[in-house]
């Protein structure tokens, strides 16, 4: 019962946010075209041939190295370090932690996705200020924020491991359910939902095939894409960025950085991908 209430609250919050946008002229856009055949398009096959080459030497590793350096060597003003950071498997344990988030963190009284947890630790132990992080939460061509490098390192430490986001704590289940609901929630000037593009097989936007995030073997594609090295611009972008950008592309109001709704969406996507093997960090168009 309680769970249902908070689901409704989250949806209500989004609905309220839309009201503010309702006066925007509603441009009609066709939903993404269905690929002609269920088979992969020739263009996708051509991209995939070279994807392996690109993945083999992924510049994400440069950011991973920077993140590792911060994790292992950076000291906070009070002498704190990331060795004190518990990503869910105990203080300082990085190996395998990424694929087991989002999870409930009692010390924070919240379900946190990996990015949220890393930022939490960097503020708590290394003295990073929330206001500074919020000033530029995502990378751009001029700067990749430290927390993005650390997230890249943490993600890389789960490479080739099975995704196993927990669903034991009631709040973890709640996050999944809220995420599932937001995923399917239609609105905005385009009357879009996440599911419009990511809720069925064989969808694509221009040359890009879109994964059906309701299926484990496709949810993994989105999951391991980010954090990813973005070829356009040449910098690292994270899951939080990807979710924000989906809101933007749907002409929804964008959630503030590290908001509950994004953690919920990530919980839904990650739990859907449970059991799949993580091969990230990614390299994306």
């Amino acid at each position: 019962m309680k769970q249902r209430t908070s689901t409704l609250l989250a949806v209500a919050a989004l609905t309220a946010a839309f009201a503010a946008h309702a006066q925007q002229p509603a441009k009609k856009t066709a939903p993404p075209a269905k690929a002609a055949a269920p088979a992969k398009s020739a263009i996708t096959e051509e991209f995939e041939k070279f994807r392996e080459v690109l993945e083999e030497d992924n510049p994400a590793e440069l950011f991973e190295a920077k993140g590792e350096d911060i994790w292992k060597n950076r000291k906070g003003p009070d002498g704190g370090s990331m060795a004190q950071c518990d990503l869910g498997l105990g203080a300082g344990v990085v190996k395998g932690a990424y694929v087991q988030m989002p999870r409930w963190f009692a010390d924070a009284g919240q379900v946190m996705d990996a990015e949220r947890r890393v930022v939490h630790c960097m503020m708590k132990y290394l003295g990073y200020k929330e206001a500074d992080i919020r000033k530029q939460p995502f990378s751009n061509v001029n700067k990749t924020p430290d927390h993005v490098s650390v997230i890249t390192y943490v993600a890389a430490q789960s490479r080739n491991m099975k995704i196993a986001a927990p669903q034991k704590h009631p709040k973890e289940k709640e996050a999944y359910n809220v995420g599932k609901e937001i995923f399917a929630f239609r609105g905005g000037p385009y009357d879009f939902s996440c599911a419009t593009c990511h809720g069925a097989d064989g969808m694509r936007i221009r040359t890009q095939d879109l994964p059906n995030l309701r299926k484990p073997d496709q949810a993994i594609r989105a999951y391991q894409g980010w954090p990813g090295y973005r070829m356009t611009g040449g910098f690292m972008l994270t899951q939080q960025w990807r979710m924000n950008d989906c809101f933007r592309q749907q002409r929804f109001p964008e959630p503030s950085y590290l908001s509950d709704s994004v953690t919920a969406l990530l919980a839904y996507m990650t739990v859907t991908a449970n059991g799949q093997v993580y091969k990230g960090p990614g390299i994306k168009r």
């Binding site: 051509e46 991209f47 041939k49 070279f50 080459v53 690109l54 070829m231 168009r285």
Partner: protein, 157 residues
Amino acid sequence: MDALRRTLLKGAGATGAIAAAMAAGVLRPSQVLAADINRAAFEAKDIAGALKAAGATNVADSTAIAIKAPDIAENGAVVPIEISSSLPNTVSLSVLVDKNPFPLTSSFEFANGAVPEMSLRVKMGQTAMVEALARTADGKHFIAKKEVKVTVGGCGG
């Protein structure tokens, strides 16, 4: 090392351009030593100019040079290219993109066991021919080409 150095300073225009740049105060001598290369070829705005500045004349087409590159690049900012030469005594390989503002992207000299084979990633502003230029120890030049379609340009933003 001598062979490498000779090659690099080969083009007659090269030393002239560097001297001019130094005179103009653009390059400090230390940079010239560090770079030690013919930059004029990199500033040429078309293939013919780049080849000329690189000292490549009478360039013959060759099937002994292989170019591995996508038919369609997913992103022009990062186009993976692999070039190799089975021409005996290949001493250098260069990669050019004909429609780029400056076609010469890079040039590599091989010595002491390095195989004439190179993989790298280049920017392509639009659909263009990727050209691989090989030079053999006897100073001859050979070239091969492959078209790469670009869906999103890689220059600028």
